[in-house]
Structure formats: structure tokens, C-alpha cells
């Protein structure tokens, strides 16, 4: 009798401990980035590109990387959106829920979701060789859009699946074609969820380094040209940390702080959207 009681208490204690470890690790990481990054932060970090000698400790900031990342992730998100939307519409509006083909596609997307980002980088690289594209914004966009395509599709699909079937049927009975019903009714219903999916994908795209390391190159300039190499925040952090100069390493922490703030910001924004729009959707 007592043995069971002891066993219960023991495991309860262990469980609470584990949960604390996990949540503490999050807190620890965020706090450390904040603590190390804040002192090194100044306005110049976000408003200026690297001046001469930036990597040797001189003036400048990471504007090149901020802009570059935004452009790259933005471009990739847009490209990926135009790939994901048709797929998700097709799966949910044109195919029956139980069709084998849709199961296969969903399975593929799930498996693609787990492919490491460096593999997307390598594949992107082979595509670039094939088409003669050099390391550039375009190269990065191709690789990252492939990376985030499964993430975006899956998230959008989950949202679309939740749209009640009756909504579609009502539209058909009113005379709409499948495409019209799909676009006007289902999409509107699922809009907040789709927006969330896009934002999540964007967040993933902006934070990834492995996929851009071959494909986007790096640059000290703020550039929007598709065919020139572009700087990205993750790589900027990586290169800054790799220098032997403590001032530059400190800047790596500040850049990490910037990147983390962007990600946290997106996360919070996503949650707000979901909550706000919950009232507009039909249950």
C-alpha cells in the first residue's frame, strides 16, 4: 500500500522537475540573449550597414542583414504562398477528403516538413548550378521557399480542413463553381488561420541559416537586386561570432537579440490575430 503511495509521489516529483527544466531552459535562453545583447545594442545596429572594418571592431550595424533577411524571407514567403495556396485549395475543395491521392500528398508534405534545411540548401544549390544562377537573393529565395513550402501548406491545410463542409455545399447549392466557392467562402472563413500559416512560415524562413549558406552568399551592402549576393541575419550572427574580437562578438549577441525579437514579435502577433478573428468565423 505504502509502496504505491511512494511511487506516486516520486514520479510526481520527477514530473514537476522535468517540466520546470523545460520551461526554465526557455527562460534561460531568452534571458541570456537579452542580457548579453542589450548592452551591445545601439541605434546604429539597426540603422546602418557595416562600415569599413566592421568585422574588426569598427563602426556600423547590421542593416544589410536586416533588410536582406526581410527581402529574402519575404520573397520566399510570397513564392511559397503561390505554391501552397493552389495545393491546399485543390486538396480541400476539389478532392474528396478520403481520396488516396490527397492522403499521399499530405503524407509527402509531412515528410518534406522534416527534411533538414541544409538539404534544401544543397538542393537549391544544384538547381542554381542547373540554371546558372549565382549565389544571390534569388538563389536564397528559391531554397527558402522550398524549405517553407511544406510548413505553410501543412498549416494552411489544417485550417482549411476545419472549415465545415456545409459551407462549401451551401455555396454550390447557390450556384457557385468550385473555384468561386473555394476562393470566396472557404478562404474568407479560413483567413486568420491562413495568415497565421504565412507568418509562421515567414518566421521559419527568416531564422534559417543552413539553407542560405550556399545559396544566398553574403554581402556588406544593402541590396535588393535579385542577382546579387545578399546578407542575412542568421549568417551575420554566425560570422560575427566567429571573429576573434570581443566587440564584434558582442555585436553577435545584439544581432541575436534583434533576430529573436523579430521571431517573438511574429509569434505574439500571430496569437493576437487568432484570438481577434475568432469572433468573425462561423463555428
Amino acid at each position: 500500500m505504502d509502496r504505491r503511495r511512494i511511487e506516486e509521489r516520486f514520479f510526481q516529483g520527477l514530473m514537476v522537475l522535468s517540466s520546470l527544466v523545460i520551461f526554465l531552459s526557455l527562460v534561460l535562453i531568452l534571458v541570456d540573449i537579452l542580457v548579453k545583447g542589450l548592452p551591445a545594442m545601439n541605434l546604429a545596429m539597426i540603422t546602418q550597414g557595416p562600415k569599413g572594418g566592421f568585422y574588426l571592431g569598427k563602426e556600423g550595424g547590421v542593416l544589410n542583414a536586416i533588410v536582406g533577411s526581410a527581402a529574402l524571407a519575404g520573397g520566399a514567403t510570397i513564392l511559397s504562398f503561390f505554391l501552397s495556396l493552389p495545393v491546399v485549395l485543390y486538396l480541400n475543395v476539389y478532392l474528396r477528403q478520403s481520396s488516396r491521392f490527397s492522403a499521399f500528398i499530405r503524407f509527402s508534405l509531412d515528410v518534406l516538413w522534416g527534411v533538414p534545411s541544409i538539404v534544401y540548401g544543397a538542393f537549391g544549390f544544384t538547381l542554381m548550378l542547373l540554371f546558372g544562377i549565382k549565389a544571390s537573393l534569388l538563389g536564397g529565395i528559391i531554397a527558402v521557399s522550398l524549405l517553407i513550402f511544406p510548413i505553410m501548406s501543412r498549416a494552411m491545410d489544417e485550417v482549411m480542413k476545419m472549415v465545415p463542409r456545409e459551407l462549401l455545399e451551401t455555396s454550390y447549392s447557390l450556384g457557385a463553381t468550385r473555384l468561386e466557392a473555394g476562393l470566396k467562402v472557404v478562404l474568407r472563413q479560413a483567413m486568420p488561420g491562413i495568415l497565421t500559416a504565412v507568418l509562421i512560415a515567414f518566421g521559419r524562413g527568416i531564422g534559417d541559416a543552413a539553407s542560405v549558406i550556399f545559396t544566398a552568399g553574403f554581402s556588406d551592402h544593402v541590396s535588393f537586386s535579385l542577382f546579387r549576393p545578399v546578407a542575412t541575419l542568421p549568417l551575420a550572427i554566425f560570422y560575427q561570432l566567429g571573429t576573434p574580437f570581443p566587440e564584434v562578438q558582442d555585436r553577435a549577441y545584439a544581432s541575436s537579440l534583434i533576430l529573436t525579437l523579430i521571431i517573438v514579435g511574429i509569434s505574439v502577433f500571430t496569437r493576437l490575430i487568432t484570438r481577434r478573428f475568432r469572433s468573425y468565423t462561423i463555428r
Binding site: 504505491r4 511511487e7 506516486e8 514520479f11 510526481q12 514530473m15 522535468s18 517540466s19 527544466v21 523545460i22 520551461f23 526557455l26 535562453i29 541570456d32 540573449i33 548579453k36 505554391l83 493552389p86 495545393v87 485549395l89 485543390y90 476539389y94 491521392f101 492522403a103 500528398i105 503524407f107 509527402s108 508534405l109 515528410v111 518534406l112 516538413w113 522534416g114 527534411v115 533538414p116 534545411s117 541544409i118 538539404v119 544543397a122 544549390f125 544544384t126 513550402f149 501548406s153 521559419r204 527568416i206 531564422g207 541559416a209 543552413a210 549558406i213 542568421p234 550572427i237 554566425f238 561570432l241 549577441y253 541575436s256 533576430l259 529573436t260 521571431i263 517573438v264 511574429i266 509569434s267
Partner: protein, 282 residues
């Protein structure tokens, strides 16, 4: 629309094919033994022994899984079986946030926090001299990175176990832990296994954070305090020299192919288990 969807279905095959075609040069020049059993890696001399990288990746991945699985399982059980609903919901955002933090940031944190601790405190405690850049460092950082995957899927799997079986067990006079141990976990085991495999797969392919904390020395590690060089790190570190040395690009793309195939197998395996489970519930 159909075309795009078909593209989605074919993408995997296209990727495998493309990487395979690019790997052909080295596959044709060297035997599999020379590639996968050799420990010497010096591309300029034409040696492409992948063994240190394969072993290194295995060590780091295993370390991560060993650290993460007990913690995640206990936490998932706690949230699912012992917590009120508000706590479970309250716990989701932090877990999602952990999942969103970029790999580089984990790497930076690993370098600032984990590496010094291993170098100054853990290594000496176990009688090992270490620079801190080690399998252990990679394991710790990776473990944290895969917490969200394992917990999230485990929670889903646990939630899928019907309430009535728990009730039955408790009605017979079992304690909550006995119910968890003998009934809930038993039912949820395949799903939890799938969750772990997915976590393993994620850890296997992780690049930046591992690259930054494991030391990148191409030797077989003999203890967790030794440095290691993983396959993803190999690819990421050397893309610059890729085109200047013959066969180097082919070798690195072969490494990518290996990564792709391994994660493909693991993921497909897990997804099949999870799909079968959800079908049973529905």
C-alpha cells in the same frame, strides 16, 4: 492547380534524384567501403572517408535523444494526466516559442553558456580535459531544440487515449501513476515512439547550432567530452571550397543525399505510425 499539387507530390523524388545525380561522380570513383568505412578525410588528397562524420552525427544525435526523451515524456505525462486544463493551455505558447527560436541563436547561447560550463565545470569533474566544444555541448543544445517536437506529438497521442480507460483503471482503485504506467502509456506507446523518432530525425539534420558547439574535428569521438563533426556541419563548413577541389562537390552532395535519405526514412516511418493511430481513433 492539379499541376502544382502534383509538383508537391513529386518534390521528394526530384530532390533525391538531383542529389543522387550530383553524387554519382564520387560514387563511381570510390567504393562504398572507401567512403563509409574510411576515417581519413582530406579532400585535397582525394580521401573522402565519411566515417568520422557519420559516427559523430550519431553520437551527438543520441546524446540529444538520451537527454530529451525522459524529460519530454515526464513533462508530457504531467501536462496530460496531472494538470488542469488551464495549465496545459498555458504551457503551449512557451513550447511553441522554443520551437521558433532560430538555430543560430541556439548556437550563440550554446557558445556563451553551455561550452564554458562543460569546459570549466563538467569536464574537470569527470577527469577530462575538454575545450567545451564537444558531443555533450551538441547534445544539450540539440536536446532543447527537439523538446517541442517530442512534447507536442506526445501530448497529441496522450490526448487521443480515450478518457474511459483511465476512469476504469482509477475505479478499480489504481493510483494515477499506476494508471499512467499500465494503461495510458501502453496505449500511447506507438505514438510516443513515433514522436521520439521524429525528434531524432530533427536532431540528425540540425546544422547551425551543432556546428557552433561541437568543435568540428574530423575524428571519431571516444567520450562525450570529445569534439565531433557532424554531417550537416561538414556540408555547411565546406561549401566554399566545394568547387575548387575535384570530387569535393560530389562528396558534399553525397553527404546531403545521405541526410535526405536518413531523415526521409525516419519521417516516413513515424508518419505512418501516426497516421495509423489517428485512423484508429477516427
Amino acid at each position: 492547380m492539379f499541376l502544382v499539387t502534383a509538383f508537391a507530390g513529386l518534390l521528394l523524388f526530384v530532390m533525391v534524384l538531383a542529389l543522387y545525380l550530383k553524387s554519382r561522380p564520387i560514387l563511381e570513383t570510390k567504393t562504398l567501403g572507401q567512403l563509409f568505412l574510411a576515417t581519413s578525410w582530406s579532400p585535397s588528397r582525394g580521401n573522402f572517408g565519411f566515417l568520422p562524420f557519420i559516427v559523430g552525427t550519431l553520437w551527438v544525435t543520441l546524446a540529444a535523444v538520451v537527454i530529451a526523451v525522459p524529460l519530454c515524456l515526464l513533462t508530457a505525462v504531467f501536462l496530460s494526466e496531472y494538470s488542469p486544463r488551464w495549465l496545459r493551455e498555458f504551457a503551449q505558447p512557451p513550447i511553441d516559442l522554443l520551437a521558433g527560436i532560430p538555430s543560430v541563436v541556439y548556437g550563440v547561447w550554446g557558445v556563451i553558456v553551455v561550452v564554458p560550463i562543460i569546459k570549466d565545470h563538467l569536464g574537470p569533474r569527470f577527469g577530462s580535459y575538454t575545450t567545451g566544444y564537444s558531443v555533450l555541448a551538441g547534445g544539450v543544445v540539440l536536446a532543447i531544440m527537439i523538446f517541442p517536437v517530442i512534447i507536442h506529438i506526445s501530448l497529441e497521442v496522450l490526448a487521443a487515449v480515450k478518457f474511459e480507460v483511465r476512469e476504469v483503471s482509477l475505479a478499480l482503485g489504481a493510483t494515477r501513476w499506476q494508471t499512467v504506467k499500465h494503461v495510458v502509456l501502453r496505449k500511447a506507446l506507438p505514438g510516443i515512439f513515433a514522436a521520439v523518432v521524429l525528434g531524432l530525425s530533427r536532431a540528425f539534420g540540425e546544422t547551425m547550432s551543432v556546428l557552433m558547439v561541437t568543435g568540428n574535428v574530423a575524428r571519431l569521438p571516444h567520450s562525450v567530452f570529445d569534439p565531433a563533426y557532424t554531417l550537416p556541419a561538414l556540408i555547411a563548413n565546406n561549401y566554399g571550397e566545394m568547387l575548387s577541389i575535384p570530387l569535393y562537390d560530389s562528396a558534399l552532395l553525397l553527404a546531403s543525399l545521405i541526410l535526405l535519405l536518413v531523415t526521409l526514412v525516419f519521417n516516413a516511418f513515424s508518419q505512418v505510425i501516426l497516421a495509423r493511430l489517428s485512423r484508429r481513433v477516427a
